[in-house]
Structures are given as C-alpha cells and as structure tokens.
C-alpha cells in the first residue's frame, strides 16, 4: 500500500495551516466544547480534502521486451537464400523473422520491418522491388522514432553486401546483425566493387578503383581486373595478385567524351572464376570547348567569336583564314603576322578534345579535302560532338559540299550541287523547335537579313529550326538539325546573323544561346527522356523538362508508367529526386526483354510519352553472406553478429534481451475527491449549528 499526496505545495501548506488557524480562531471563546470539536473536525476534513491523498496498492509484474526484426530488402537479398533454393534471401529472412517473432511468446513484443522501402526508411511490408541503396542508419533512426518506447533489441537480417551502416556512435549497442544464408565453403569470386567518382569532367581522365575477393585463395594467386564499356568493349585491364585475405584490386584511368551517364562494367578473373558488376559515372562539362574554324574574316566571325569569348563557360580555340595561298601580300613573310593553319593537328589529333566544332563559311575543298579529315569530323560527331556549319560564299553548294561524300551525309539540309550562295534578302520563319528563338526575329526593330546559301528542305531524319523565304521566292531550311551517332549537326545557311547584334535588344544572344545549348546537348529535343540501367537491380530514370525546357525544380509531374515483359505488366513507382529527375526501381521478375512506357504530364499538360526496351539483369546465383563486412561493421559499434540459420530456438532466446518488470497499480482510492467527504463536512457543519442553537448561541 502506498500513500501519495496529489496536491501541489501551495494547497498542502494551506491544508496544514487550516487546523492551526482553527485553533487560534476558537481559542478563548466561550462556546460549547462539542461545537469546538465539530468545528475543528470540519477544518480537519477540509484540510484533508485540500491535501488530496491517494491511497493505492502497487505490484511489480514482468513486461515483454520490445524487439524489432529489420529485414534487408536490398538488391543482394534478391538472390536465392541458399544454393539451389527457389526462395529469395529476403523471403527466407522475412519468414524466419516472423517465426521468431511468433515463437518468442508473451515475454517478447516483436515486430518485423523491411528496409528501405522506396519512400520510407523502413516499412512493415516488403517493397515491390529490391532497392540498390540501403541505409541501415536511416532505418534505425526511423525505428527509434516510432512510438511505444525504446526497442530493447534490434535484429538486422542481411547478407551484409554493400550495406551502408550508421556513423559510429550514433546508434545504441542493442543491435544484432544476423547473416542470411550459409557461408562459403569453397572458392568464390565476389563481384568487383568499384569506387568511382560521382561525376567526371568530359574529355578529362578520371580514376576508378576496382576490387574483388577470391575466397579461400592463397596469398599471391594471380588475378586480373578489366573495365569494359556498356557494349562489352574492353577499355582497360590490369593484372593483380590476391593478398592474405584473397582481395585484389587495381586503379584504372578512364575518360568519357559523351555528356550524361556513362555505363561501364568491371570484370574480375581469378581462380578460373569470373565475376562482373556494373557501375556508372555522370559526365559533366567543366567548360564548353569550342573549336571555331572560319573562312575569311567577316563581321559575322567577329560577332560570334566575341559572343563566345564573352562567355566564361566557353574555352574557345578559333582559326580564321586571313589569307589564301593565291593572295599576294607582296611583302616578306617576316612582315606578316600569319601562322600556318594546323589542319592536320586540329582534325586528326585535337578534335576529340572539343565539344563543338564550328565551320563558318569554311572552304573544305581547300583545307580539308583529305578523306581522313572529313572522316575525323564524322567520328567526332558520332562520338558525341556537336557540329555547326555556317554558310557563306565558300560553303554548302558554293563550297562543293555536295561532293564531299561523308561530310555531305552529315548535313541535315538538302545541299545543291551547284553554287547556291545568294545576296538576296530573306525573311525568317521559326519552326516549333527547342533551339528556335522566335523572339530574335520579332518586333519592330527586327533587322532585314540578306545573304544566304539557298538550301533545300530538311534532309531525311532532320528537323527544321528556322525556315527562310527569299525575295526571289525561294524557300527552304535556314537552320536545321539532325542527330548523328551520339552527337548533333546543325546547319545555318546565312552568315549574316551579326545583323541581329547590330539591331540590339538581345536578339543575337537569344538566337545563339539557344542554338549553342542545343548543339552541345544541354538543350534536348524532347521534354521527357527515359533511361534504363540494366545492371541489377534495374532502375528507370526519367528526365523531365518544364514548358521552358528547364529541368523541373519541383515535383510537378504526374507519371503513369508500365513495365511489361515475360513476367507480366507491373507499374514502377517513380519518385522525384530533384533537378527534373524521377527514378524508379523495376519491380521483379527481371527475366527477358522488358518494355517500359511512360506518360508524363507537367502541371496537368502532357509533356511526353517515352518508351524503351531493355534486358535487365536479374539477381545472380547464390552468393554467401559477407561475414567479414558484418564483423567490421559490428565491432566499432558494439553490436553483435550471428548467423540466422544458427539462431533459432534456444539460441534465439539467448540473443533476446533479459525480461524486465514494471510496477502496476492494482487498486487506488482518493478520498479527498469523494463526494462523501463533502457530505460529511456539511453534516458536521449542520451538527455544529444545531449544538450552538441548542446552547442559545447565534
């Protein structure tokens, strides 16, 4: 039995003072002693009510421990749970956790969670896909934020592969890592783990480190590592030897010349075994590298060169043909400030170091007639470069481009075999194209352009950016574009865009900024593009641009997508990752060729419906758990490691936290709050009144 006083200190003090006050009040007064007793009893009763005593009986009873089973739902858990098993490791682990939770009885309050879900760090149901990124720290933090008090023990069921643990010191020690699956008995070569930078600069080397492990291998065993392109072409290889733990690795310098994601594969060979894994690097541009080759100097060259030079994001190398061989200066070479045009170095050696090549009124027949030079231009574009060909009296039909087979085939507009340059005035008709800037030609201050190569319409597969209508009635493509390989080609028929600059009003900048952005790949044609990463676990990525062709800065797109293949149709769940990027894991099964189609709307308006087909890689055959990684993870954090298969029954009981007890109040009473107390008080006061009246007092 316990007695507690429920009132605050103020009321308790008042309660203590009440009897004292009563004694002082009635001392020395002549009144019947019965009346005094009744009055003091009333005061005492009032004091007792103010003190609010609570009388209760408390017992200690055992309470169940709170235990959580966190099942790794990541990619490494998609493989079979042991050699030849049909069930995935995640299914095995989930089933084991539920059995363990059920068998723990009343002593344990157990819950099972999977981490990470596509949107939550942990969730009660297994996610539809097998996410590649798993953050154990985030899952533990989510768990501790759940209601119901602290967890006495957390069991993490995992294979230990590529698991991201929380920083040391940020989580408690009540965590047990349970490895799922039997450990390796013989030799096994792990898939190479690759440390690659998150992004690399275009045209510049970056280094990746690849490492693999041949289990149960003697030190010094020969091994090799290779880096392959996504289409299986060998890029680099290195010989290595295993160390005392069977680990071997190598560093590779790589380089990419294409903007965006570049996919690679790392292949390890050792002990007669081969293992492959994929990795990717985002290629970004440090600066736009422009090689600008111009025919004769002109106002147009001065304007465009000045525009490019004024952009701090552009590295410009330009050459202009100041003098042709037939021009006779009549002076000694020492009096001339001229250098030979390094055609061989530029076309054969240096071209691949640039992002954009501009040929401006350039007489190819004179300077680059050799097949290797034109072939180099074709290879440059096919490899991801941007080619801009600007017209002039020495270009297109007037420059004999129609006779330059491989070069002519690149051009996105029909080129006449006869001279086609005309000084006539023309009007510009912008097409619906992201590279078009209609505002450059609109308004009262728009200049009247004159001078262009009379190109025909867009070539097959090309798109019109601007059309022209000449004073003579001729019409065709003023600017057109076409993709070639990984690059783009744009033709601009007129060498007179400098007039836009003279006209002022930002027309010139508007025109060229869009054109160059399109050329270097920054400005895409489609507002929605879809990519698929075939490496396991397969992932989809949508790049969504707003109506202004800028990446969405908020989650404003609604996406309806479907993956269909031999396993039926599934709906991937896209989530916004910022910068116009939406990603989704591909739900299993993965076998065979899959087709993805998506419909994207931005702010309620259709933005695009991309689709693609790909063959996603499924989980490989059984891979033993990475016990070494688990032990390395557990040691500094004070965690323990055990094998799931050996942790059933009595073994699990040993791992469970000791039972705890809690105090339970079985009975209690608060007489100070009872209405009977008020009734007794009223009764005492009435009796005291009656005594006084009987004694003849007021």
């Amino acid at each position: 039995m316990t007695l507690e006083l429920g009132s605050g200190w103020g009321l308790l003090l008042a309660a203590a003072l009440l009897p004292v006050a009563a004694l002082r009040l009635f001392r020395g007064r002549s009144m019947p002693s019965a009346s005094v007793i009744l009055r003091v009893a009333s005061f005492l009763l009032l004091a007792a009510a103010l003190a609010d005593p609570v009388i209760s009986r408390v017992e200690r009873r055992p309470s169940p421990s709170r235990v959580a089973f966190l099942v790794d739902a990541g990619a490494a858990m998609a493989g079979p749970c042991h050699e030849g098993a049909a069930e995935t490791r995640r299914v095995c682990a989930g089933a084991w956790a539920r059995r363990a939770a059920a068998s723990a009885g009343e002593k344990v309050s157990a819950s099972v969670f999977y981490f990470p879900g596509p949107l939550l760090p942990a969730q009660e149901d297994p996610p539809a896909s097998f996410p590649r990124d798993r953050d154990l720290g985030a899952a533990l933090a989510w768990l501790s934020s759940e209601g119901g008090g602290p967890w006495d023990r957390v069991f993490v069921l995992t294979s230990g592969h590529d698991l991201r643990p929380p920083p040391v010191g940020t989580c408690g020690s009540g965590v047990t890592l349970l490895s799922v699956g039997p450990p390796s008995a013989g030799r096994r070569l792990s898939a190479p783990r690759v440390s690659a930078p998150p992004f690399a600069y275009l045209h510049m080397p970056f280094r990746v480190f690849a490492e693999s492990r041949l289990e149960n291998a003697p030190p010094g065993a020969p091994a090799s590592l290779e880096i392959l392109s996504s289409d299986g072409k060998l890029i680099s290889s290195a010989a290595a030897r295993t160390d005392a733990y069977g680990v071997f690795g190598a560093t590779f310098p790589l380089r990419t010349d294409v903007l965006g994601s570049a996919a690679y594969r790392a292949r390890a060979r050792a002990g007669g075994l081969t293992a492959v894994s994929g990795f990717g690097v985002q290629a970004v541009r440090e600066k736009l590298r422009v090689l600008y080759l111009s025919g004769p100097p002109s106002f147009d060259y001065a304007a465009l060169r000045g525009h490019l030079k004024s952009d701090p994001g552009v590295d410009l190398v330009s050459f202009v043909i100041l003098r042709n061989p037939e021009d006779a200066a009549g002076v000694a070479e020492k009096d001339l400030s001229l250098i030979p045009f390094p055609v061989h170095e530029l076309f054969i050696r240096d071209l691949r170091n640039f992002d954009v090549l501009i040929l401006h009124a350039f007489d190819l027949r004179r300077f680059a007639i050799g097949g290797p030079y034109l072939q180099a231009v074709e290879s440059f574009v096919a490899g991801g470069g941007g080619l801009l060909v600007i017209g002039g009296p020495q270009a297109f039909g007037s420059g004999g481009y129609a006779g330059l087979g491989p070069f002519q085939a690149l051009l996105p507009a029909e080129v006449s075999a006869a001279p086609d340059y005309s000084e006539e005035a023309f009007s510009v008709e912008p097409a619906r194209h992201p590279a078009a800037a209609p505002e450059a030609f609109a308004g009262t201050g728009a200049p009247q352009l004159g001078g262009l190569n009379l190109l025909g319409g867009p070539a097959e597969g090309a798109r019109l950016i601007y059309g022209y209508r000449a004073a003579s009635g001729a019409a065709g493509a003023l600017a057109a574009e076409r993709g070639h390989g990984k690059g783009r080609v744009v033709v601009m028929a007129s060498p007179r865009t400098w007039m836009l600059k003279s006209a002022g009003g930002g027309r010139y900048s508007a025109f060229w900024e869009k054109m160059l952005s399109f050329l270097d790949g920054t400005l895409g044609l489609e507002r929605v593009s879809l990519e698929a990463d075939e490496n396991y676990p397969p992932r989809l990525r949508l790049r969504v641009l707003g109506p202004d062709y800028r990446p969405l800065d908020r989650d404003a797109a609604s996406i309806s997508a479907s993956v269909s293949g031999p396993g039926g149709a599934r709906a991937p769940d896209f989530y916004f990752r910022g910068g116009g990027i939406y990603e989704a894991e591909v739900p299993p099964p993965f076998g065979g060729r899959q087709t993805v189609s998506a419909r994207v709307a931005v702010d309620g308006r259709a933005a695009g419906s991309p689709s693609l087909s790909f063959s996603p890689a499924g989980p490989s055959s059984y891979v033993p758990p990475d016990l070494r990684a688990l032990e390395e993870m557990a040691r500094p954090r004070g965690w323990s490691v055990a094998r799931m298969e050996e942790s059933g029954g009595a073994a699990l009981e040993k791992l469970m936290p000791p039972p705890s007890s809690t105090e339970v109040r079985t009975w209690s009473a608060a007489p100070g709050r009872s209405p009977w107390l008020l009734a007794v008080l009223m009764l005492l006061l009435a009796a005291e009144f009656a005594v006084r009246r009987r004694a003849g007092r007021d």
């Binding site: 004769p296 106002f299 030079k309 200066a329 020492k334 006539e424």
Partner: protein
C-alpha cells in the same frame, strides 16, 4: 549631295532588294556630317583592291554615306568620318544612335585630314569619344595591341602625314571601338586615272604610304577578327593544355 549609291539604296526598300546587307565580308560606310566631311567618290576603291589582293576578305565595293540616325547604319559595322575641321555638333538623338551602333559591334574610324595636331577636329573627336563611351577617352594604342598584328606586323605609323606615332582609340567592352588617326589614313588611297596617287605622303613618301595602307588594313582586319591575334598567342598553350589533360597529366600555364 549624296552619292548615287546612297540614293539608290534609299530609293528602293532595302528589305526588298537585300541592299541593306553588305555584299561581301566587309563594307565601309561614311558618316555624313556635312560637306566638309565628305570624301570624294571612289576614295576607297584602291583600299578595297589592296584588301582583296592581300587577304581572303572580299569587300563590298559600294560605300554608303549615312547620317547618324540612318537605320542602315547598323548594316555597316565599319564607319568612317574624315574631316579637316570640326563638323557640326551632334544632337542627343544622333549621339544615342551612335552609342547603339558602337554597342552593337560597330567600329568608328575618325580620320583627321588636316595634317595638324590639336586642331578643332581633334578636339571634337575627343569630345565625341567621351559622349559615345561615357568615361572613355581617346588614348594612344599600346605597341602590343592586337591591331598592330591583325595582319601585317605594323609599327603604327603611316598615312598621308606623320604627325602621330600611333593611332588613338577609345574602348567598349575591351574592344577598340573608336579609332582616331591624325595621319589621314583616308587620303592615301585616291589615285588618278593614270594610277598615280593623288596626294603625296609627307615626309616619308611612298614608304610612308605603304605603312599607312598596312595600318589601315590592320584596322579593317581588327574590326573583323577582334583580338583574334591575342588568341593566336595563347592557343598553342590551350591546345597543349587540353592534350596534357586528355593524357592525364597535370595542368600547364602559358
């Protein structure tokens, strides 16, 4: 009296004939500020021939004479004003039009045909530079300026007179947008029907004329290529840097 060419240009709408745009890679227009600042017909014929003979540039033989507010001014980014004495003052609208012309990439060559320093035209030219480029003033071009190596390696002297060691310039966005020559670079070009120079070059004779011609051609090439020759100095370093970076080596400095 305006030239026949100018009349022809204005008689028909420019947009209909394409006459607004120059026909070649380069064209000259003369700024018309009155009869005291007009060059004789055909003054530039020999200059165009000199350009055509020596360079890959194909000049437009037509020369328009334009007032400051003429909309066609923007189609002729190389403008010459040649006077022997100060012309009339420019109105606010004319000054604003010329400011836009400079900002749009135009080059204005102020040519003093008097053969004297500190004359009225020179003072007028200095004031005009200050008006068109607020805060700017004409200053002698440094010998290392790319204008002196835009085609010929020029010393900066030359012309009908030899009163100025190097042309002066006022800058817009790093570009020598207003050029001032006191050596009369316009007066070296006229030739007689027999092909002889109309005006003698004093005191250096034909060698001085040739220097003047080279300097003028360098001005033309500078207006067409900007600081290209400065790039030419740095480009080998830039290319080498790209090669080394591509090879995985460290950076290089010019």
């Amino acid at each position: 009296m305006r030239s026949v060419l100018l009349v022809a240009a204005l008689a028909a709408p420019a947009w209909a004939s394409g006459a607004a745009a120059p026909a070649g890679d380069f064209a000259i227009a003369e700024l018309d500020l009155g009869p005291d600042c007009r060059l004789p017909e055909g003054n530039w014929r020999e200059a165009f021939e000199f350009i055509r003979r020596n360079t890959s540039v194909e000049p437009d033989p037509s020369v328009l004479r334009l007032e400051p507010e003429d909309p066609l001014l923007h189609y002729r980014p190389f403008l010459v004003l040649s006077c022997g004495k100060a012309p009339r003052a420019l109105s606010y609208r004319e000054t604003a039009a010329l400011r836009l012309y400079i900002a749009g990439g135009g080059t204005l060559l102020l040519n003093n045909s008097s053969g004297a320093r500190r004359g009225s035209f020179e003072s007028w030219a200095g004031r005009l530079a200050g008006l068109l480029l607020p805060g700017g003033e004409l200053e002698a071009l440094d010998g290392a300026h790319p204008l002196f190596k835009s085609f010929f390696l020029s010393r900066g002297r030359g012309g009908r007179f030899d009163v100025q060691a190097a042309p002066e310039a006022a800058f817009y966005a790093g570009r020598a947008a207003i050029l001032y020559s006191a050596n009369d670079l316009a007066g070296i070009w006229p030739v007689s029907a027999a092909g002889a120079p109309v005006y003698p070059c004093l005191p250096g004779g034909e060698a001085q004329r040739l220097e003047g011609r080279r300097l003028f051609l360098n001005m033309v090439m500078y207006s067409l290529t900007g600081s290209y020759k400065e790039d030419a100095v740095h480009q080998p370093f830039l290319l080498e840097k790209m090669r080394r970076l591509a090879a995985g080596e460290g950076d290089v400095s010019p």
